[in-house]
Amino acid sequence: MAFISLATVVMLFAFLVQQSLSVIAAEKWNFLFGLDWWAGETYGALPMIYGSLMVTGLALILVLPLALGGAVFTSEYLPARYRLWIKGLMELFAGVPGIIYGLLGVALLGGWVKNTFGLIDGNTLLTAALLLGIMVLPTIMTLAEDALHAVPGQYRDTAFSLGLMKWQVVLSAVIPKALPGIAGAVFLGLGRAMGETIAVMLVIGGLDKIPDPWFNVFASGQSIPSKLGREAAEAIGTDLQWSALMALGLTLFLMVMILTFMGNFFLKRAQ
């Protein structure tokens, strides 16, 4: 079974590499670092790579305090029967399809961002990041909670017996012990966020440009999946444009792969 899945991944990877070759030959490093993507002329993917990193990174920053706080509260403070309720609810939320979040994002979040920050338009990197944050919150929270909950009771008992307060026990005994598992949860959540297509596509603005200044999250942008989603149908059968999209896919594949590997690495260490 492990062999079959490994073979599939390797074949997928080889296919992507093979399809990307012609654009890499044509653009060389300009593919990764070029700022200009104009189908038929030049393919610089940096704005999309930037958009993906920016949106996922920002989503993480926004959601981390909430997800970890929620996980600690659920695992350490909440009575056991409520805990199961919360867990069930989180797992339910984690399974909601991206398009549902996307629709809510277009209908509510875009306008909210626009009005709250006094912008001229609500389709921004920040909107996409907020939406992604909401989407991965349940995943990160429930996995991090698992990690906290799996810390054996004896650590808590020992810490208590030293006369520590509850919050000191959590902070100095439980969390350090659960840290690898929490890190794993975060990376897996990030992986999901980075690959999300439709929800992001609906609110990010679709502009292949790095904003000026680069940290201006109130500007529109473009992520890799959203670019692929918008341009794929047009590019089928073309040489270079299709190859460029495949290379974009390859870039995304590698980025998500690294995140997933790191996630699994930490989760394994936690066990």
Partner: protein, 289 residues
């Protein structure tokens, strides 16, 4: 080992059961003739409407699927055989002719439409009723950034561009820049279908964009184009009289001479009955009603 064998056995049994069900006659087999239509979201509403009536007339012996994707996708699909008919709200470009020179592409004009320069209703109400070609160009170049520079409110302009392969964009850019592939560095947002662009403009109170006539409504207002001293309104009358400067043909694109049921459908669209639907969809008929 035994367990693995058991699992394989179960999957094989399920596989056989499923294929038996899906291959059995009457379950998956569809005896209806099929027509695949793909492409421009401008042409789409008219074709959807016609397809319904056509299928009804044929006593449902024909199944027509109509999908969007944009003119580029439409031309591409019909040239590569992914669709029987491609819908395009522009002409086939030279590049496409070159690329698909083996597929014998033909266009059949089914109606006429205009691309209007549209603005959010708030901007229109505040006094921007017409723009010249130069003003529109400067807005899309990012040289004019505020509505007050063109007689509107003191509000930054949300410049909305379209995905590059969209027919509406080709026609609009051809007029504004004299180049169907012109870049628009002033763009703030890029949208895809007419519906997407329409809703983004309606949500904003400071947007400018490009839309087919049929998508204009009270939230998304088509402004007049200033040519010299004359302000030409985007109305069906002006399109019919060839006065409005940004107009275009709505095309069916087929690879080779259409035959059989596809031919019948094409003939239906250019028949008086079909042309009445062109009119009902908000476009200008090109064949006698």
């Amino acid at each position: 080992m035994k367990q693995v064998f058991f699992r394989i056995l179960i999957s094989v049994v399920f596989f056989i059961l499923f294929s038996a069900v899906s291959l059995s006659p009457g379950f998956a087999e569809d005896r209806r003739e099929k027509i695949q239509v793909v492409g421009s979201t401008t042409v789409l509403p008219l074709v959807t409407r016609a397809a319904e009536v056509f299928a009804e007339e044929k006593k449902d012996a024909v199944a027509i699927t109509v999908n969007s994707g944009g003119s580029g996708v439409g031309i591409h699909s019909s040239a590569t055989g992914r669709a029987d008919i491609g819908m395009a709200s522009r002409e086939i470009s030279n590049k496409e002719r070159e690329r698909f020179k083996n597929s014998d592409l033909k266009t059949i004009v089914v109606g006429r439409d205009a691309v209007a320069c549209v603005v959010s209703s708030e901007v229109y109400a505040a006094g921007v009723k017409a723009l010249s070609r130069k003003q529109i160009r400067d807005i899309y170049l990012g040289k004019i950034k505020n509505w007050k520079d063109v007689g509107g409110p003191d509000r930054e302009i949300v410049v909305i561009d379209k995905e590059r392969h969209r027919g509406t964009r080709h026609v609009f850019m051809q007029y504004v820049f004299g180049d169907e592939n012109a870049r628009a560095p002033g763009a703030r947002l890029v949208t895809g279908s007419n519906n997407e662009e329409q809703s983004k403009i309606a949500q904003s109170d400071a947007a400018i964009g490009m839309l087919s006539l049929a998508w204009i409504n009270e939230d998304v207002v088509g402004i007049a184009i200033l040519e010299g001293d004359e302000a030409i309104e985007p109305t069906l009358e002006n399109v019919r009289a060839n006065r409005f400067p940004i107009s275009r043909n709505l095309n069916f694109v087929v690879a080779g001479e259409p035959e059989g049921i596809v031919r019948e459908f094409v003939d239906f669209i250019i028949s008086p009955k079909g042309q009445k639907m062109v009119k009902a969809s908000g476009y200008v008929p090109v064949h006698p009603l």
